[in-house]
């Protein structure tokens, strides 16, 4: 197995590209895929400040590393989810990375600051933990970006994640989610732009990137996601990809090129109808946003956040 670029000994192959790479050219390949995604989907403009949602896993650390190497001003935000050892270990990987690379990190602790550790919040509200977790992340990453003056939030969703979410969305023909599924969610009143620059990289590639760049990361899946359907969809897509390399990329990018726009109009109307949450000011279809309602239901007391103010 030889490197596609320099013909030296390869350390990894990428079947859907029908290619193998040595260490240096694989790192370059990953950067190039991110550069192409950013360019193609117009994710970032020169000079914009990026807030990277870091979890301590391979994807978010690889994303942060690549964005900095590509020259972006990218700082991190770690959200402590209060999921026991799993969260402690995750935080340690993030702190180690920050200490070694000398990058800037913001931090929010859900349990301490909001009384909303995910296991307790899920139990108290009878919500699925992944639902309460996703909702909290979306709300707090957006809020932190506005408060600290970032133009955009970048998340580490990779090709495997996005293809699995898409499969779930088409299996249910959930037209709202299909309209919202895009690597760029544009800014709107109360929302900064959200982007997914790893959308052209598989999770095997982001893992290999971390290993080859000497980045240690949380290897375990979140214990609360066990039995989650999303992981089942990933397995099915892996079986298809194994039989026919390139299936996942064709599925996701085919949707983005030929499917997404057919579902987008419904969502634009929905977004235009949002009004500020009477408690925290975040855009919401009702009076009080889902995050503030989650807090009330989980803690029994009123939400702690004052209305958002741009720094």
């Amino acid at each position: 197995m030889k490197c596609r670029v320099c013909k030296g000994p390869a350390v990894i192959d990428v079947r859907r590209h029908n290619a193998a790479f040595c260490r240096d050219h694989f790192v370059h390949h990953c950067e190039e895929q991110v550069r192409r995604a950013i360019h193609h989907f117009r994710m970032l403009e020169p000079g914009e400040r990026v807030l990277v949602a870091v979890s301590g896993g391979k994807d978010s650390l690889a994303l942060w590393d690549i964005l900095v190497r590509l020259g972006y001003e990218a700082d991190g935000l770690y959200l402590g989810l209060g999921i026991g050892d799993y969260s402690d270990v995750s935080a340690r990987y993030v702190h180690d990375y920050v200490a070694e690379r000398g990058v800037k990190l913001h931090q929010i602790d859900l349990a301490e600051e909001y009384g909303l550790g995910i296991p307790a919040a899920a139990a108290a509200t009878h919500r699925a933990p992944c639902g309460a977790c996703g909702l909290s992340k979306r709300h707090l990453f957006n809020r932190a970006a506005i408060e600290h003056g970032y133009d955009v939030v970048a998340t580490g969703h990779n090709l495997d994640d996005e293809a699995a979410v898409l499969l779930g969305n088409v299996l249910r023909w959930d037209v709202g989610y299909l309209g919202r599924q895009h690597p760029v969610l544009p800014s709107a009143p109360g929302f900064v732009r959200k982007v997914k620059p790893l959308v052209r990289l598989g999770e095997r590639e982001s893992a290999a990137y971390c290993v080859l760049r000497g980045i240690d990361y949380q290897v375990d899946e979140c214990p609360m996601a066990d039995g989650n359907r999303h992981l089942g969809y990933k397995e099915l897509l892996n079986a298809l990809e194994h039989r026919s390399p390139g299936t996942k990329a064709a599925f996701l990018f085919g949707f983005l090129e030929r499917g997404h726009q057919r579902f987008a109009d419904d969502v634009a109307a929905e977004r235009a109808a949002l009004t500020p949450c009477t408690s925290c000011g975040a855009p919401t279809p009702g009076d009080v946003c889902a995050f503030c309602r989650l807090q009330v239901r989980a803690t029994g007391v009123e939400p702690v956040d004052a209305p958002i103010r741009r720094s």
Copy 2:
């Protein structure tokens, strides 16, 4: 396990309906599902003459049987595909059914009448056998219906078939196929209507229907379909259905309710642009239709059919 209707001993359960049935009520359940599909999608009007595409398999024989029991004037058309023993055995099941039930059968032999037995045609044209077979069936069922004065062609595609085709179409985001995927393809100049009345029945149900109604059928899969992607998609959907009964029906009917129309316009324009084949008169986007071209490539001689004439 008790029958949902009469509480007598059940012979089969249908997990996605969370129900079990005795023999008589299962037969009624199948008829009811077909009746509902016909009604919901407006497949057939009273008094219309139906040509059923029969292969000798469980689906087409169950379909024919149910249509006759529901009171439709439904005759069969068997197409001899020239696939060795498989075709011989299939034809025998069709003839046995016709002899026992006293129904009317038309018959066309692809090899004898067109020099187009599927294995030879696929080899000569370097086409995948399933492609050449599907193309020939669509052409000849339509032609026979027009010539013999039928209003509509009914095929035995079931829920499993349609869900697997849909999965293939969304994995590639093939917008043309997505626009055409519907249980009713309306009539148009040169085309009779095509309908799929088994779309609400799984293949396990059509098989059980045949067993319980004493209909013998060809059990083997076509030997030429081996390794075909469609069968892989069926397996994946079976895994999902096993974990979560109702997944396939939600996928297919969700698409028909909320997805299909978004892809239909492209296809209407495409269909409006068809002109008669200069050889046989069938509608085609080019000068000569794909079936006539297949004949020329497979046999080296000009197509045998004269232009279609309505009887």
